[in-house]
């Protein structure tokens, strides 16, 4: 729930409405985790644009979330 609130805030600030969020309750349907290779809850899966990116945790660190979603350039090893 904290993750969803954080995600909505980040998306509103940086994506201005051009996004859609789908919430999947893995407590109800744990088998859905397999398709997205989810191991921890909560996990944010970015499906579009490809490639798929996964961010684990409550997304309380906005900068790290933005880098993870590749919305903002971050330090890269390459």
């Amino acid at each position: 729930v904290a993750a969803l609130a954080n995600l909505k805030r980040i998306c509103e600030e940086h994506l201005q409405g051009s996004y859609s969020i789908e919430v999947i309750d893995l407590l109800k349907d744990p088998q859905l985790a397999r398709g997205d290779q989810i191991v921890a809850i909560p996990t944010l899966v970015r499906r579009l644009p490809p490639p798929i990116r996964r961010i684990v945790g409550d997304l309380s660190n906005a900068d790290r979330t933005l880098v993870g979603l590749q919305i903002r350039a971050g330090p890269s090893k390459q």
Binding site: L27, Q31, V39, I41, R53, V56, R64, G68
Partner: protein, 412 residues
Amino acid sequence: MSLRIHSDGPRSRVETAAQVRAENRKLQARLREATQALDAIRGGGVDAFVVGGPEGERVYVLETANHPYRRMVEQMLQGAATLDRGAQVLYVNPSLSRLTGAPAEELVGRSFPSLFPADQRDVLEDLVRRARTTPATLESRLLVGAVEVPVHVAANPLAIEGTAVCVMITDLTAERRSTALEQADRRKDEFVATLAHELRNPLAPIVNSASILNSSGSSQSEREGAGKGIDRQARVMGRLLDDLQDVSRITQNRLELRKERIGLRTPLEMALETSRPLIEASGHELILELPAEPLHIRADAVRLAQVFANLLNNAAKYTDPGGRIWLSAMRDGPHVLVAVRDTGIGISREALPRIFEMFSQADQAVGRSQGGLGIGLSLARGLVELHGGSIEVQSGGPGRGSEFVVRLPAAD
């Protein structure tokens, strides 16, 4: 619990440099994800893990994930409990323990309706039964030792692991008290409005009379009438202010009686002197039923006269012109009774219990032209009680007259 990152494994085929670089980038991204996932787990940002097994995926929830909710239930001001299908208490939060004054271990295992007074148990049982399928609420009283506390009870279905229903209990004591205060406050506001009205009423005739006195064209008889009018109206105002002052003295315990052994006739005659003009002006017939032998009391004659005059004035005001008013006195064992009865508008059953309360007239008789502040009866009761007596009212209902009976200790 293990964190498993799926990988495609090492490739055995010979690949081009470009393919290797692409593969490397992918693996780097994976590694970055995995590192971040570990950081999130260490940082407390993860609530649960999905673990694949032979029977499919299972979710393991970390105990810490429920902390905020558990803390919320345990620290909230409302009482909360969970019940099984038979309405037996499975869990209570600290607030409910505090509210009932019983430790949690004493409450758990008890039947939930037994926390309420006997006459409430049926409705509580019904509430819990309904709440197994749909949310339900009611207001009731919770037992706290021998005392009862007004509460609001909300019950919801909560079907997990043997639990059937969860309930929330809100203490309404403070809310009820503030409602009572609001009512008192509203009555006071109404009283102030009535007071302003009553004090203004005599002003217009006084101003009129004054202009007659000031006018050189007024005849001698006009001047005399105006003088009398001013006198009469000023006395009305004076009486209102006296009553007001006395009521505040009584409520603040500052009224002192000059009690002495007197014949009951003394205050009765003083009262009649005060009230007779109003009774006669309304065309009422006054019937006296006084015993031949003298009745003695220990009393402040002036104050008792005030009580009887108030009752007689009330009878005159609340009886349509041409009615009848009885004033009677008698000995009743160790007491002396004085009764004032009329053929007036009567008092409704609902108004009877509050008739002696301060300002109560302001509520029900606004719009009647009778005037008065609605403090006369409150004042009468205060004065009678200061004499060690009591005052009662009876009425057959609206239109059926009223009777006020003052009971005072006799002095032999």
